[in-house]
């Protein structure tokens, strides 16, 4: 039996207890997928995995602030939780990890987590940092030109904000007041390079002033605050107010990818310290305090996530790999050309 809610009146606008539990589930599901990716990599079954541990709260908050089927997501490669919360399924996630032919994002061509689901309004990206931010502005420009109510959310790490294309994108968006939310998931590291060597300002959000729109900061380890911050930015964009730069302060619990070893640039103490900011137990406590979850439900949801990811793993592993002939498809609309 769940205990009676203590502070239910304080629920933020747009979030019901059901939606909050759904958010929690996506965070747990993502963590399970994320762990599975690294485990499969260590087993030699997949060549590469990227992690989003430490980013789950901002990502689920951002995805829940968008309207599926209306708004566009132009995420970056660390957005597993955002993608799962926006409609990507665990089977689709595992298919991309295994690089199977049926991988709907790229048919095994791109690194994992380079999402592309046009019919769910998730745009394709490459691994070239910040290049997709200009594309997101173009998608938002198209929505504005067609007088659609779509808002585009594009995300990136703080390292991306060093790139010229990032600045060009924000400049263009500020001039034309396109309906976009720029979401920086600031985890303090661009692979091994700390934020202090990436920028001379303290906050990425401070940069928004240079482009003529607001920059706001939220605690990216708090899904509720993340949701509220992004929701306000989405509403502003939808009502014609133009862009917002949201900086979510979060952290990266693991190495950059399965190919990286963070012990070459971080101390063990630092790594232990950031783990205390894990958004999942933190959200569990928040929900418990409000009587919306108890230990049994937590165990049930974690077991459910594990069943889903086990099923997805077995299923994806059994799918066919691409063939040599697949190499030559989708070069041009009409096929390969000389």
């Amino acid at each position: 039996m769940k205990s009676e809610p203590k502070v239910r009146a304080s629920l933020p606008e747009g979030l019901t207890p059901e939606r909050l539990l759904e958010m929690y589930y996506y965070m747990v599901l993502t963590r399970t997928c994320d762990d599975r990716g690294f485990a499969l990599n260590r087993q030699g079954k997949i060549p590469f995995a990227a992690t989003c541990q430490g980013h789950e709260a901002i990502q689920v908050g951002a995805a829940f602030a968008l309207r599926r089927g209306v708004d566009w997501l132009v995420p970056y490669y660390r957005d597993t939780c955002m993608a799962l919360s926006f409609g990507v399924t665990p089977r689709e996630q595992l298919m991309c990890l295994f690089a199977r032919k049926g991988d709907i994002f790229s048919s095994g061509r791109q690194f994992p987590n380079h999402y592309s689901v046009p019919d769910r309004q998730i745009a394709s990206i490459s691994s070239i940092i910040a290049a997709h931010v200009t594309h997101a502005v173009g998608i938002a420009l198209a929505a504005k030109m067609r007088k659609q109510s779509a808002v585009v959310l594009t995300s990136f790490g703080e390292g991306s904000t060093s790139e010229g294309e990032w600045h060009e994108a924000l400049n263009f968006a500020g001039i034309h007041k396109v309906p976009i939310v720029f979401l920086c998931e600031n985890n303090e590291y661009a692979i091994s390079v700390h934020q202090s060597l990436q920028m001379g300002v303290k906050n990425v959000a401070d940069r928004a002033a240079g482009y003529g729109f607001p920059g706001v900061i939220c605690d990216g380890t708090d899904p509720v605050q993340s949701y509220e911050t992004v929701r306000d930015a989405v509403e502003r964009a939808r009502s014609g107010g133009g862009p917002t730069l949201v900086e979510a302060k979060c952290y990266r619990a693991m190495s950059h990818t399965s190919d990286d070893n963070q012990l070459t640039y971080r101390t063990p103490d630092e790594i232990e310290a950031v783990k205390t900011r894990d958004p999942i137990p933190r959200f569990e406590n928040w929900l418990k305090e409000r009587g919306m979850i108890d230990d049994d439900t937590i165990a049930e949801l974690k077991a459910k996530a594990l069943r889903e990811v086990n099923d997805a793993t077995d299923w994806a592993e059994a799918q066919a790999p691409p063939t040599e002939a697949d190499l030559y498809t989708h070069v041009y609309h009409s096929g390969p050309l000389s």
């Binding site: 709907i104 592309s116 689901v117 394709s124 290049a131 200009t134 173009g138 998608i139």
Partner: protein, 327 residues
């Protein structure tokens, strides 16, 4: 058919595309109030509005990047790079992003984008307003690279490019804008992408070329015809995809090949043409393939002497033809 110069043909095509398809819009530096530095889009902003003729900041990467996003979202952007020399900041967006969008998404996302840019020399454009950029881009699968040389082809290929589902880099030789005039079909006129044109039929040798050099080659061919050498001039029109069939057929027919382009010789388009002929028709030839190209210096200089020394001329092409015919 009315006679127009190449600039007028481009202008007319852009105007027709804007008027007939509301998905089409133009973005670039000075394309709005100024109507582009060559006045190609003069008056467009008054007619189509500021939302469809967008003056952009001086930022080439975002001109192409924003256009890619709009194309992915279903519009038909025409992005302009004011001079080809300014395209380098947009290199990643064209090569790394636009050209790979379809492939990396396994057909999920298309990128129907046209990037127009004036290129080439002969207008005293110095180091930064006279380069040829085709070799930097034609290497890239997923991208199409067109270089029309006549007003009719400019209209026909630009119309095809705008309708194409893939990203197209559309090169307009700026010396041809006002110098080259010709009849242009009225109404909708398309030229298929990937088909070369026989600019002049001949039997003694083949000149394979494109852009401004088509006209110089035809002029040279007429000159040496009086000396009894009957040259064929093949205008590629489309650099990628490249019409290998027409190239091989011409080489096989005349048995002597001269490749002419204004771009630097080393690794230029001529290298690919030569290799294709060597692979498929080497033993049909009576002479080694000859290339007359821009020298391997970074660009033509501002001084008239630098420019003239850099660019192939009708006289130099005629000399190369004579040498080849006499081999």
């Amino acid at each position: 058919m009315a006679t127009k110069n190449l600039l007028e043909a481009v202008r007319e095509t852009l105007h027709d595309a804007m008027a007939s398809d509301e998905r089409v819009f133009i973005m670039g530096e000075d394309v709005g109030a100024r109507g582009n530095v060559f006045l190609i889009t003069a008056g467009f902003q008054e007619e189509f509005g500021r939302e469809r003729i967008i003056d952009t900041p001086l930022a080439e990467a975002s001109i192409v990047g924003v256009a890619i996003g709009a194309a992915m979202a279903g519009l038909r952007p025409i992005a302009e790079i004011q001079f080809a020399d300014f395209i380098y900041p947009a290199f990643n967006q064209i090569v790394g992003e636009a050209a790979k969008t379809r492939y990396r998404s396994a057909g999920g996302n298309s990128c129907p984008l046209v990037i127009r840019t004036p290129y080439g020399g002969g207008v005293r454009g110095a180091l930064s307003h006279s380069v040829s950029i085709e070799a930097l881009f034609y290497h890239v699968p997923g991208l199409k690279v067109l270089a029309p040389s006549t007003p009719a082809d400019a209209k026909g290929l630009l119309t095809s490019a705008i309708a194409d589902e893939d990203p197209v880099l559309f090169l307009e030789h700026k010396r041809t804008y006002r110098l080259i005039k010709g009849e242009v079909p009225e109404g909708r006129h398309t030229v298929p992408i990937g088909k070369a044109d026989i600019a002049r039929a001949g039997k003694d040798l083949s000149v394979i070329t494109y852009g401004l050099m088509r006209h110089f080659a035809v002029e040279a061919a007429e000159k040496i015809a009086a000396e009894g050498i009957d040259a064929e001039v093949v205008d590629l029109r489309s650099i990628r995809p490249m019409d290998r069939e027409t190239i091989i057929n011409s080489a096989t027919k005349t048995r002597r090949v001269l490749v002419v382009h204004e771009d630097n010789k080393f690794g230029g388009v001529g290298a690919e043409i030569s290799a294709a002929i060597a692979e498929e028709a080497l033993f049909e030839l009576d002479a080694p393939i000859k290339r007359l190209c821009g020298p391997d210096v970074p660009a033509m200089g501002y001084a008239k002497e630098y420019e003239e020394a850099f660019m192939p001329s009708p006289e130099r092409i005629a000399d190369a033809m004579r040498e080849l015919a006499q081999f």
